[in-house]
Symmetry: none
Subunit: 401 residues, 2 copies
């Protein structure tokens, strides 16, 4: 089965927004074994949109249209699809009342334009995710189908996950499943990983049970993606489990997580499991660590706080690495947490190689610090410092607790 993606919006062609939607959709389609052989960007122009969608339908079984569902006059996806279906658009009163309710709940008047979002091509069905915004559409055209989703990534993804991917898989009638697992590493180069895994990859070339691919993800580390194609979910899962075991044996503790497990997720999990709390001194990292931790722990149950900036200047006189240790201890004391961590840079009068960062941990029975050197400009150095500090804490919690 083939599914084409049409990203709609003049701003995409003008480079004002990068089209990340079709990449994301392409990835999801690949995971359920559906080919996406063409992805097209087209502007908000009725004729060119119509031509592009028709052309897509002529060579694919399904077309996903992203964007052009908003309330303004240049949002014309609904009308163009209706024309291709050979039907009219009709106003759906239930959607009207949902949109009206959304505005009322915020105490705002609904601009009249917003009613356009309740216009639906006759014969189309509505995607139920994200009620109150522009609804997504499933529009049958003979034996093929056009889907319409908003260009807002979050809304589009909800509709893809909740409805469209299932609908596509049902239509495709195919049973082969493709599953993949991402193994996340920190601390090795891509070529180093490739060398370590070279023998195993040649084995896989022969057996064909799975494929491995590397993906350098900057401050998120380097990902090894294992992809297995099998007759059913269970077999695919079995291959992934076996592969993960083999790769863990080869790479060891540079693996910090799998799939969506970020470094901060992994560290938070270890802390929660041990009923520990964490705080940080962020004189170098400027709040990045807190932002990441509180994104997962919004109520700050485990991550209790962070001090950004030199609130307490006492220990700024302490030299080098020891200053980081003092800062970690101070955070721990101020926030009354079981663990305090800190990342600091050398002061201007201290003589260290460029990219030097001091990392420190303070917890029951452990007071440690180290100096590392990181590549890159200050903005990346700050982010690299955050993940390095969390990885330092991860290994400390694993081995010294």
């Amino acid at each position: 089965m083939r599914c084409e993606v049409v990203a709609i919006g003049t701003e995409l062609l003008l480079g004002q927004i990068v089209d990340t939607n079709s990449s994301w959709i392409g990835e999801q389609l690949a995971l359920i074994g559906i080919d996406s052989l063409f992805q097209v960007k087209v502007g908000d122009n009725a004729k060119r949109m119509e031509d592009t969608i028709r052309h897509g339908l002529s060579r694919s079984d399904a077309v996903i249209c992203c964007g052009g569902l908003g309330p303004t006059q240049d949002d014309i996806t609904r009308e163009v699809i209706a024309k291709i279906m050979g039907v009219k658009v009709v106003r759906d009163e239930e959607i009207v009342s949902r949109i009206r309710y959304m505005f009322e709940a915020r105490g705002r008047e609904m601009p009249k334009n917003n009613l356009r979002q309740a216009d639906i091509p006759e014969g189309a069905s509505i995607i139920e995710e994200m009620p109150g915004t522009a609804p997504g559409l499933i529009c049958p055209v003979d034996k093929k189908v056009i889907y319409a989703v908003p260009g807002v990534p979050y809304e589009m993804q909800e509709m893809m996950r909740g409805t469209i991917l299932n609908d596509l898989q049902k239509r495709s009638g195919q049973s082969a499943v493709i599953r993949s697992r991402v193994i996340r590493t920190w601390g090795h180069s891509e070529s180093g990983l490739a060398e370590d895994l070279a023998n195993h990859m040649s084995e896989l070339d022969n057996t064909g049970t799975a494929t491995l691919a590397f993906q350098a993800s900057g401050v998120e580390g380097i990902k090894v993606r294992v992809t297995a194609k099998a007759n059913n979910e269970k077999e695919a899962e079995k291959v992934l489990i076996e592969e993960e075991k083999i790769i863990r044996d080869i790479l060891g503790d540079i693996i910090f997580g799998t799939d969506d497990e970020t470094m901060e997720r992994v560290v938070l999990d270890i802390l929660q499991k041990n009923k520990m709390t964490l705080s940080a001194a962020e004189y170098l990292t400027g709040g990045i660590l807190a932002t990441r931790m509180t994104a997962l722990d919004a109520k700050m149950v485990t991550f209790r706080g962070s001090l950004v900036g030199a609130h307490d200047k006492e220990y700024l006189k302490i030299p080098g690495e020891k200053r980081a240790a003092a800062a970690a201890q101070s955070a721990r004391a101020n926030f009354k947490t079981s663990v305090g961590i800190a990342a600091l840079a050398p002061e201007e009068n201290e003589d260290y190689p460029p990219g030097t960062v001091f990392l420190a941990i303070s917890m029951q029975g452990v007071r440690k610090s180290k100096a590392i050197t990181l590549p890159g400009a200050r903005s990346r150095l700050r982010s690299y410092s955050v993940i390095s500090l969390l990885d330092y804490l991860r290994k400390t919690l694993l081995y010294e607790m």
Copy 2:
């Protein structure tokens, strides 16, 4: 003149790499007044590449192909273009010796595959930028033209800037320049802005001096892009200045900046101009504000610090909005700054509508706070709180200082 972009590579369709090249090219083309009405991604497949490029040539005057010029077997752009031109590829000995030299200079042996990069369709000319790598190509097809550039962004951009944009402008025979300006707003809905500007937009439809487009950018607010087409740089600039003035008159102080001026940039500029310093209490915003401010002010000269988490629990007993005021004052006192700001959420035992956020500012002669309601899940609510708080500070600095 119309120029289509074809991004080549299966990894683009699979979402392993996001195609940023065609966005960049689209932006450059717009700036020299060339329309890019379609941009297509296609995999490394000869038949589909050929169809896509031919289709592009049928509706545009030029096609720029990005990618597929590398040394491996799946890099087949050269061969596909030769087929469309109806010619053979021939090995260019000068390029062979350049590539050989590049390897020798690095003390490495040249893999035989790399010779493929010296294969050129007969009748094509070579783009001289980036010698020693895969050369870019200019391939005439009747009165139209296909360009081929590498997928590596830096190499592609060098070739675009050095050769292709000039070549296209020469072919187009036109001298018109297109310039645009982004006007950034916070506090109004997209449809609200559209209504406010509706009259002026109809005027522009008649005069044709400029066009306006809206772009909702989530927590960055809504952007109004003004685009002017004129005979020369100076005239275009004049139109932009006039348009900015008109739009400022209509929209007033919901405009916080233009082009790359983010809200944090604007607030920092006002503070710096007045030699003021800033600190924050981030119990709700979890370090997001500090992350944004320190990204611009890494040495923390103006933004002195942020307290993430309830370090000081004293005033957690103070009810509602007043708690935010106390937190702002406490940040100001602790960090000894001229301004302290805070965003807080209601405590669980307080009765406020969902999405309520308290904002507060403490500075010389000003102690103020307000309650607002924001849409969205907690992660977005935090980001919306940051920009709302900064906008509150911006207006306070503008009017009460």
